[in-house]
Symmetry: C2
Subunit: 315 residues, 2 copies
């Protein structure tokens, strides 16, 4: 078995496009981020990406594949970006073909939450498992699903939209008309708004910026009863969605990453309690709740790993 | 390609065990049902099943495999019945080994809802699809899931428990401590109880037996406004769970069977409305909502089909 080759991992975000050179899960080199909004449309931005890729290849001639994680809806098989919510002009862009034509390297283009899940599955907390659900919690709540040792992409490559599933059939109306979407309760902004309301009801005025997940974690760690209650409430809501995934898919592990997961035990202890009290034996006795191994590098790691595997290289 | 052989399909219920001989999806012969509760424990009941199987094999020497659908938790790979809620003594019974030792025929033992899903996938409404969710609605609500052209069984063979997933994180407490389980809202008994309450609130007294799904369907067909509202309410709750499956798995089809589904358009029309108003394009544009092809024979058809496929025969 030959050694794993190097791969380019690209984390395409709404603000910056980060391009790195990866050896397994290590970012061994990277270029300065490209400003996503600094270009007049996809053509110019893709050209800039190719320039950076070429520079990195001069320094690392062994690069064997390119993986791109995109913040939007992607056809993985065709490598077409259907649309990006926060970047204008990115509609039906054949990014895989554009990059592979320009670089002559095998390329994959995938949704960023699926890349995160792939990173955890192949390189992180879920290595060796055949059935897992990965959740990433930030402004949005996303995820990716592994079943029977395969990534679940679904019929139109949309699968894994965990944050859009409902926890309340009469709940808040979400972006797609969906009632009670998890993301509309435990996304960063919703957590902050709910926490500020709780403080306000207790006669304590807080700015919204003092109610970020990080601030709420710090407050709960210092014994702030309201912040502790906020974390229990987040855990309760999140446990409902995770429980649904367990009854449906009977996974071996749930892996949770993203900013909110940095709260650690403040989140995981009540989450374990709420989740395990709502499952029967076969669903919980072999289930592990795990923090993600990777942080902001998850997208790059997953995209690069997926690119290598898709091109047939050993991992 | 040789013709599909005959198979034994067994529908093991809490009241009767039905044993049939199947050619593809047709029950070409069957034995009188065995009373599940007429035997003092699993040994005697298994012996009775073997006697019936032997009688059927004398009439049909070409029988090539045996499939059993069980109303409980089963390890599909090992063929062990872990437990049955409604039949005493059935705890950790190696049914696959017992039947295959006695008959020398390849045997599979599977959860009955998974058999129903398998029947629809291989022989019914979902033929040729790679991503589908099948739901069976009766006293309980069960289901089975196909992803990437494979049955999803999960790490402990428990997957597909659609009726146990939550539609309300603060809802009714279910059998496993799970809050807001779909089954606790749209199981036959819950539908009847909710309907009777609605009538009562309107000053109309109904017996619970007049509130069966069949009676409610007849009433709604005659223009009964309360019954119509009941069906809309069932559809709304069911749409939440189906929507969750769609966001998670992005299937091509949802197949709905069981007694409640016999209401036809009374259920499917509001279900289509509630479901499709809560999904974005890629999740709904290629999605079909289908009534199941099979009724009470689904378990036998699915078990027999699974047995043949597992033993390597052409379907």
């Amino acid at each position: 078995m030959s050694d794993t080759p190097l791969a380019i991992g690209i984390d395409f975000g709404g603000t910056t496009v980060k391009i790195g050179v990866l050896y397994r899960s290590n970012i061994i080199d990277s270029a300065p981020p490209i400003g996503t909004q600094d270009f007049d449309g996809p053509d110019a931005l893709i050209e800039a990406m190719v320039r950076v890729i070429n520079e990195l290849r001069e320094r690392h001639p062994g690069i064997a594949a390119i993986g791109v994680g995109m913040p939007g809806f992607v056809n993985f098989e065709k490598g077409i970006v259907h649309n990006l919510t926060n970047v204008r002009g990115w509609v039906e862009i054949p990014l895989k073909k554009r990059l592979s034509d320009a670089t002559r390297l095998p390329t994959v283009v995938e949704n960023d939450a699926n890349c995160m899940a792939y990173a955890e599955w192949k390189r992180g907390a879920g290595r060796g498992l055949n059935h897992l659900v990965a959740i990433t919690m930030g402004t949005g709540v996303g995820g990716g699903i592994i079943v029977n040792g395969q990534m679940v992409r679904g019929s139109q490559y949309g699968a894994g939209e965990i944050g859009q599933t409902s926890i309340d059939f009469e709940g808040r109306k979400g972006a797609y008309g969906n009632l009670g979407a998890l993301e509309d309760y435990v996304g960063n902004n919703e957590i902050a708004a709910d926490a500020r309301n709780r403080y306000e009801e207790a006669g304590i005025h807080k700015n919204i910026t003092d109610c970020s997940p990080a601030a709420l974690a710090a407050a709960a760690s210092s014994g702030d009863a309201i912040a502790i209650q906020v974390w229990d409430d987040i855990a309760k809501k999140l446990s409902t969605t995770i429980m649904n995934c367990c009854w449906l898919l009977n996974p071996e592990a749930i892996i949770i990453g993203g900013g909110v997961a940095k709260a650690g035990d403040l989140l995981f202890t009540p989450l374990q309690k709420h989740l395990f009290s709502q499952l029967s034996g076969p669903f919980k006795d072999h289930l592990t709740l795990l923090p993600a191994r990777f942080g902001s590098e998850a997208g790059m790691v997953g995209a690069a790993t997926m690119a290598l595997e898709d091109a047939g290289f050993d991992l």
